[in-house]
């Protein structure tokens, strides 16, 4: 017997059409990415002969072997990216929470001032030239670790999202009673506010993780010292300059330098991209629900 359709759902034929459109859309989103994976697994001669193909005519892991052997530069870039992401995420999430918490307190008398303080910058900003000159000429951030973190800190929008969350999910009464019991403000924040607001902190943290991991502009603007290059920046450079892939070998083992002729530069470059985004793409399906939550919390205006 045919399963009874849910009330008010679309007709069976429309439903099929919807599925087909959704499948085509999903394929369009995923296939281009699969092409990069396919290239990274293709043998170099096969690329030279047939170009980039979805189905490799010769399968090869040489590209991956190459980048894992190719010496310090890439590993350092990986380490830099991880460090920037960790420091940036912790700092970024913490300062937003610390700022949003007083704003959420009904008894805090300077709410208006500190709200305006953030709001002004959401409306008006100095733009790239002023920030660039300031960071390079006055703060002397060029070729420092700070240049990779500081310019991306402090999104005003998330202050309001976080404040709204605090207001809605932490009743002021429990803060008040803790104060009467002699709890200090910093203790209240650490022992009560943080544990009670893990969902919003997780959302902010994740947004920061993606932001810092995928950031390459800070490196492009402020870094010329290859010890501080991040992964995205090395990738960005390698796309424009194949020589970079070959230079990687120079920093690697002697064995690699000798085998310069059979360098799997094409597949290695794509392998680098896959290795570079690996962790991010591997985990996003599991944490996307937090992004959904983050977006819907953000929809509540303040």
């Amino acid at each position: 017997m045919k399963k009874k359709r849910e009330i008010n759902s679309v007709s069976a034929r429309t439903s099929v059409v919807l599925h087909i459109i959704a499948i085509i859309g999903s394929l369009l989103c995923v296939l281009p990415f699969l092409l990069v994976i396919a290239i990274s697994l293709t043998g170099e001669e096969s690329i030279m002969k047939n170009g980039y193909q979805f189905i490799p005519s010769t399968f090869s892991l040489e590209g991956y072997k190459y980048i894992f052997k190719s010496g310090e530069m890439l590993f350092r870039a990986y380490a830099n990216t991880i460090l920037v992401t960790v420091v940036g995420t912790v700092a970024g999430t913490l300062i937003v929470a610390l700022y949003a918490y007083p704003l959420s307190r009904p008894d805090f008398p300077y709410k208006k001032f500190f709200t305006t303080f953030i709001l002004i910058l959401m409306l008006f900003n100095g733009g790239f030239v002023a920030s660039y000159i300031l960071n390079v000429r006055i703060l002397m951030l060029k070729n420092t670790f700070f240049a990779l973190v500081l310019p991306s800190l402090g999104g005003g929008f998330y202050v309001f999202v976080t404040r709204t969350f605090f207001q809605q999910s932490i009743p002021y009464e429990i803060i008040e009673s803790a104060k009467i019991d002699g709890c200090s403000e910093s203790r209240i924040f650490l022992k009560m506010i943080i544990p009670l607001s893990l969902p919003v902190l997780a959302v902010n943290g994740l947004i920061n993780i993606y932001g810092f991991w995928n950031n390459w502009q800070n490196c492009l603007y402020y870094i010329t010292d290859d010890k501080l290059f991040t992964l995205q920046y090395v990738m960005q450079q390698a796309l424009r300059d194949m020589q970079l892939m070959k230079n990687l070998a120079a920093s690697g083992s002697a064995e690699l330098q000798l085998s310069n002729i059979t360098l799997p530069a094409e597949s290695a470059r794509m392998a680098m991209v896959i290795v570079g985004i690996g962790p991010i793409v591997a985990v996003y399906p599991f944490i996307q629900k937090y992004f959904v939550k983050g977006l819907t919390v953000g929809a509540i205006k303040g």
Binding site: F108, G127, I138, W216
Partner: protein, 303 residues
């Protein structure tokens, strides 16, 4: 005295806010003062504050340049297309996914559709390159196999106008639909059932119930994006076309132009004037958009 007592009472909270205040001063307020360099002839030997004031000279140069109008037009037209097309596609996608009753499939589609959002523009530029590279690209190879004429994708600006719109939609529509989908999921289904009993078709339900319910979210999104209408997505316009000079007619937007004139030509005057204009117009646009929304329906204004 009273004031000091009050500050004292909230000292701990004020200290908590300090890190963010410092970050905002460094990242936001100091550059805001830096906007004044648009009115200066910057000379590093005299220092930024000591450089000579030259009034509107930088702006005169900017508007005298033949490129600037073209670049402003590029920026605005692309953004208008991104906003309108992006919203239409995201809303349509959300309504479609919402009608798919098989929750597992709907969830799977959604997961796949937002994948591009999580890829950085550098990765996107690799993907585009994999398809279009003149040497080994998938599409040139395909064209060759099918006997179609050879096209040099990285040197024909006309191809890049639709291409950039397509890439932008590809990377953002799935993610942007999430917020509409979440709103739809929270809707009261009895409204639709009542409409159905009264004989409303699916299209009528969408037209008279679904879209009005999405109106608030759409308005807020619209206001937020209007402020950015003269900001070009630097990654999209600089990195994806690989900063190819032949493509500038189609790919040059304010942000790439400012970056280039500052870092490659070292033209501080011009780039700061363009930046100043961008900040001022952006601010006016957000406030104006908000005013208009307030006038139409005061509930939906952001501030």
């Amino acid at each position: 005295m009273k004031k000091i007592q009050r500050v004292n009472k909230y000292k701990a909270l004020l200290v908590m806010m300090l890190p963010m205040v410092i970050v905002q001063i460094l990242n936001g307020y100091l550059p805001l003062f830096g906007l004044t360099i648009a009115f200066k002839d910057v000379d590093y030997s005299k220092g930024l504050l000591g450089s000579d004031w030259i009034g509107l000279k930088n702006f005169e140069f900017m508007f005298a340049s033949s490129d600037i109008w073209h670049i402003i037009a590029n920026t605005i037209v692309y953004n208008l297309i991104f906003i309108v097309l992006g919203m239409a596609m995201a809303v349509a996608l959300a309504i479609m996914l919402n009608e798919i009753r098989n929750r597992f499939m709907a969830k799977t589609y959604q997961t796949l559709l937002i994948l591009p959002y999580f890829l950085s523009m550098v990765v996107v530029s690799y993907i585009v390159y994999a398809f279009l590279s003149p040497q080994y690209g998938f599409i040139p190879e395909l064209f060759a196999k099918l006997g179609l004429p050879e096209i040099d994708w990285y040197s024909d600006p006309d191809l890049w106008r639709p291409l950039l719109v397509g890439i932008k939609m590809w990377s953002s529509v799935g993610y942007n639909s999430i917020i509409y989908l979440a709103t739809l999921a929270g809707m009261d289904t009895s409204l639709f059932e009542a409409a159905m009993i009264d004989g409303a078709s699916k299209w009528q339900q969408i037209r008279y119930i679904t879209l009005p319910m999405l109106k608030t979210v759409m308005t807020v999104t619209l206001i937020l994006s209007l402020g950015g209408i003269i900001k070009g997505d630097f990654g999209l316009f600089y990195q994806v076309p690989m900063n190819s000079p032949q493509l500038y007619p189609a790919t040059d937007v304010i942000d790439t132009y400012v970056y280039r004139s500052l870092t490659q030509l070292g033209d501080i005057g011009m780039s700061s004037a363009v930046g100043f204009m961008q900040s001022v117009v952006g601010c006016i646009l957000v406030i104006a958009a908000n005013k208009i929304v307030k006038f139409i329906d005061s509930d939906q204004a952001i501030f």
